[in-house]
């Protein structure tokens, strides 16, 4: 066979590669490809996603970016921050009547679960964790307000009593509208929107109430 005379592999080129034909789809390869990247890349990618969602909450639009790539980092951070700031600051006696950390935590997550179940039962197409993600991120304005109140308190400016009520009402309305916009972007049957918005309204009312009644010891 004269044509095959040139077909020869020189010794110094190593032969490498895979002989096995993968059985399943290519998805295991895609997952493993992110295992080899440096940790900084992973963290930065997640941080960027969280940051993008924070920006989205401040300027609500009817986009589905919040819904599609859900993550629960932001809600966790916000919830923990809010619960830490609200801890035990609502009574002037030793027998604490104010919300404890566990209480705030449980209320936020339990409330979010109830709203999600309600929207699913009413025929919504949003998934469980997507809804938790939206509701958690929309707590951000209230957390920021709480932070501001606390900072003003630390700086010795008093409890901002008179300003708190209208500010919190405003933020409450803002949160509700953001959450509803994100939620109701084509994920609910059109004639039941009021039924879905009402529990969201109550949920953010309770959180605003907890912040409003916060008096430090």
């Amino acid at each position: 066979f004269p044509g095959l005379a040139d077909v020869s592999i020189s010794q110094d080129i190593p032969v490498e590669g895979e002989i096995t034909v993968p059985v399943g789809s290519n998805s295991p390869d895609e997952d493993y490809s992110t295992l080899d990247e440096p940790v900084k890349d992973t963290i930065m990618r997640d941080l960027k996603a969280v940051g993008k969602k924070f920006v989205h909450v401040m300027y609500p639009r009817k986009s589905s970016a919040l819904l599609r790539d859900w993550d629960l980092w932001g809600p966790l951070v916000l919830c923990v921050a809010l619960a830490l700031m609200l801890q035990g600051g609502s009574a002037d006696s030793k027998d604490d009547g104010g919300p404890q950390f566990a209480e705030v935590f449980v209320i936020i997550w339990f409330g979010a679960v109830v709203i999600t179940l309600n929207s699913k039962l009413l025929g919504g197409t949003i998934s469980f964790f997507q809804s938790l993600c939206v509701l958690g991120y929309c707590v951000m304005p209230l957390t920021v307000a709480m932070l501001v109140c606390r900072l003003v308190l630390l700086a010795g400016g008093g409890t901002m009593g008179a300003v708190r009520v209208p500010l919190l009402l405003l933020l409450h309305v803002f949160c509700v509208s953001t959450a509803s916009t994100a939620f109701l972007a084509d994920s609910q049957p059109p004639n039941r929107k009021a039924l879905v918005v009402y529990p969201i309204f109550l949920f953010y009312f309770v959180i605003s109430w907890m912040i409003l009644t916060f008096t430090p010891q």
């Binding site: 209480e103 179940l117 009413l122 109550l202 109430w209």
Partner: protein, 330 residues
Amino acid sequence: SGAPAAEWGGFEDNMQGGGSAVIDMENMDDTSGSSFEDMGEMHQRMKEEEEEEAEGEAGAGEEEDGEFLGMKGLRGQLGRQVADQMWQVGKRQASRAFSLYANIDILRPYFDVEPVQVRARLLESMIPVKMINFPQKIAGELYGPLMLVFTLVAILLHGMKTSDTIIREGTLMGTAIGTCFGYWLGVSSFMYFLAYLCNAQITMVQMLSLLGYGLFGHCITLLVTYNIHFHSLFYIFWLVVGGLSTLRMVAVLVSRTVGHTQRLILCGTLAALHMLFLLYLHFAYHKVVEGILDTLEGPNMPPFQRVARDIPVVSNAILNTTAKAIALTL
């Protein structure tokens, strides 16, 4: 290359089976202790290997391989098969249990409402029915009652805060939620039990729905009287609004019960519990004590020292204040 071709012929059979182009050496040793690792992938490959074994048993190459492996390879494969079976059975059982118990579709029919329906039912809950000889229809819906209970919780929180209620053991949030949900679920269960004893035609969901919508009157009353602190106003609201919603519930229950004694028992219990609950909510969570004494005592009397009330002992507080009020008027 005749003999190698016969051996390698086995490989072509393998490839046509759609599996790997190479005999997987992983199967040949039994070194992995836990066969449960990678069960998902292994299951797929096991299936294909079983097919290949079935095909290739006639082939010489397979038999040679089997003899070559001996007992070690067999044990490895057996172990993996057993583990695989257990995994499959466990997975099937778990998914069956999950789909049975965690299926929210069980609740779906109870949430199938439109906003107009909810509004209509809310208004209806204040209108007593006239026809009590014909069983009245109760909508077995849970959205309205659930939202009303949450609204009551929110109103209670608002009222507790404006009255600076101090709660000894527990927290405001916990108390409010516990009270409202406890009333709704507890009294519904109790009334359902009584209805069962009295042979009334009502199901648990209907009872929950009826009582839930009866809380609409409570919500209105508390919302108004927590913000406008006229004591007589509360009593008027209590009688009128509370009374209307109680009458509605009682009428519906009566229409579904036969026998005078049974009707009396059911309606008396429900009316008493419902009206007393409204009374309790107002007095326990609201700064109304000072209201009474401010209107009764003159400017010379020292102001009433408000003491933190223990919520379960609220009846004592009422007793004390009524005693003081009576003493002042005498």
